[in-house]
């Protein structure tokens, strides 16, 4: 390997080659993503159990979710996954300005997602469509059971939202490192790893959205 290539890739002490470091880091992140799928899997299971037990309640309650806002969020997240890929692509081509731009755009999308979420939650709070003992909405039919749907809604979107926030933090850190000049065609591993995490956040939403908003 050429000398200047070695200098650009910060090889950790315990790895023999950059290849080993890249492969290990990617494997580690994939394993972590597997754990996240199982974490959400528990909630998806709870959703299935209750939807099966209370089909009428679920059908009615989900109409109180704004499909337009949900669809907006879906598009925003899909787009942000694209921008993350573009950032990696730019790094591979040593186009650091585009790396910074695309990472920034990803973060903006993530923030936009949270803003839309805020409006959705605000509407629910206002309407009393809340989980458990906080449920106060009077217009919905079978109000004593509808809280189950909203409980699951808030749990699933809430946990997802926490992951979006963590993603913003992660991507911001990567953005700052990109601005500092840490990355180039020889080394863009952290962007890839963060990108993988961000794709997972996106994928989970792709499953959440139809289950919560679209099921007829």
């Amino acid at each position: 390997m050429a000398k200047n290539e070695e200098a650009l890739f910060p090889l950790a002490d315990h790895f023999a080659t950059p290849y080993q470091q890249v492969e290990s880091s990617k494997l580690g992140m994939w394993l972590f993503l597997a754990t996240e799928i199982l974490l959400f899997g528990g909630l998806f299971t709870a959703y299935s159990v209750y939807a099966y037990a209370h089909p009428g309640v679920f059908k009615e309650a989900h109409r109180y979710l704004d499909v337009t806002l949900g669809m907006t969020n879906t598009i925003v997240l899909l787009f942000s996954s694209l921008t993350v890929v573009l950032a990696i692509h730019a790094a591979q081509k040593d186009k650091i300005k585009w790396v910074v731009f695309n990472l920034g755009l990803t973060i903006v999308c993530a923030a936009a997602f949270l803003v839309v979420k805020y409006f959705e939650y605000a509407h629910k709070f206002h309407a009393g469509l809340l989980p458990g003992r906080y449920f106060t909405n009077a217009t919905i039919s079978n109000p004593d059971q509808a809280h189950i749907f909203f409980g699951i809604y808030f749990l699933m979107t809430g946990l997802h939202g926490i992951h979006v926030v963590i993603g913003i933090g992660l991507l911001t850190w990567i953005l700052l490192r990109a601005i500092k000049g840490d990355f180039g065609s020889q080394y863009y591993l952290p962007i890839e790893i963060s990108g993988l995490y961000w794709h997972l956040v996106d994928v989970i939403w792709i499953f959440l959205f139809p289950l919560l908003y679209l099921i007829r």
Partner: protein, 543 residues
Amino acid sequence: MTIYENKPSYLNEQKGLTSWLFTLDHKRIGIMYLASIFFFFIVGGIFALLLRTELLTPGKTFLEAKSYNQFFTLHGTIMVFLVIIPGIPASLGNFVLPLQLGAKDVAFPRLNLMSYYIYVFGSLLAVFSIFLGAIDTGWTFYAPYSLQTQEKVVMMVTAAFILGFSSIFTGINFISTIHKLRAPGMNWFKMPLFVWGIYATSIIQVMATPVLGITLALIVVERLIKIGIFDPTLGGDPILFQHFFWFYSHPAVYIMILPGMAIISELITTFSQKKIFGYRLIAFSSIAIAIISFLVWGHHMFVSGQSALIGMIFSALTFLVAIPSGIKVFNWVATLYKGSISFATPMLYALSFLFLFTIGGLTGVFLAVLSVDVHLHDTYFVVAHFHYVMVGGTFMAFLGGVYYWWPKMFGKMYDERIGQLGAWLVFLGFNLTFFVQFYLGSQGMPRRYYNYLQQFQTLHVISTMGAYLLGLGFLVVLINWIHALFYGKVAPANPFHATTLEWTHASSPPIAHNFVRQPIVTEEPYCYGDEPHHIHGLAHKGA
């Protein structure tokens, strides 16, 4: 300190408290885990002795009912989440795995250190919660009781949640290490069986623990905002909790036993100087156990109100998971055949394991039989069964492993005679404590009982006497180790003439980077017969 040797090693190459607290060295992290785990073992053990003392008489001996209920909960919670699940992987796994693979460290050393601090934080939170209002739900936190009781459930459950992350990160670290950091020439079937066992364990840690995470989070949410997922008065399903909980907690028991079995493979080969019998079968059995372990959780719920059909499916799958364990036991015994068998302290623990784990495993078969389980479920028979596998199995292997790798970890030997004394006391005390509990359970004595019917007293007294003897045995082991730390004789690089890389290519204790030169592997892991076996030291250069 006299703990440190004169020659350079990972123990003395950097000195001072901060060099330990901020270390990235897997060996130091392993040692810190070892000390913490044994500390919490003592805490959990004290609760056990208090329980057994209360059980000397059918009525109140010296505890109130609520205190008794809190103590058995804490004994279980501490032993499961703070001791046995991190147990072997975090301590011996961390220390030995990179050495056996011929690697400098694990794949993610900083993650490793973070895992340790997460463990410490979670453990301290758990202990702290005891002082604020110790939970009394049993370590299984069944709803609706866990949703109603007034004690500090949220805090303890949060502590367990945090500890789960430590487990997950360790698993991710080990899988990545095994896949990517093996020495050149070490293909999968040249790995020692200890590595296979740790690998299978890590798969379970990564796949199962998140489900516990979400289950515990749901308990917290249910308690705090009454979301109505497990509470029947709010439309929830308490049996759903059991499904979620056991989906993790059954694989968790294989997180406990697989590393123990992994150690036994090492001990059996080294102390008989023989190739392992059926290497591939043992390796595949570990993976088979890991996979099947995810399919049997319902056998904890045969009488829970789940349908009989589901019970049947789980019973059948449970019998299936028994087969790989049986294969391993027979293979280990066959390994000893025509070997050169030493009865050094680590081997005494390995032999103990074979004896006790067989009993534990066979009594598990009783519980897999549907009609018999109806009678034995939630009785002392179950308590005896799981102590035989967790203590008689995993913990014996753990002690054997610590004794085995002791010279590698500290460069010193322990007093062999005290080691043997400790092993015998533990073996005898253990059997005395728990064998009679099979009787108690069969006779109909339920578990988690503060008071009991008069006719059970004799057996309870015997069990308590056994518990004190067992405690004494553990004390002897502890004294043995502390004495060895300060006064142990200098150990050679390979005192037991083993053939795995940590013995043949690393000094005792190893240098910070483990190996002077990257070892290159050409032979199978237990190559005892190929030529007269020398004591391999640093003089042996890898090919």
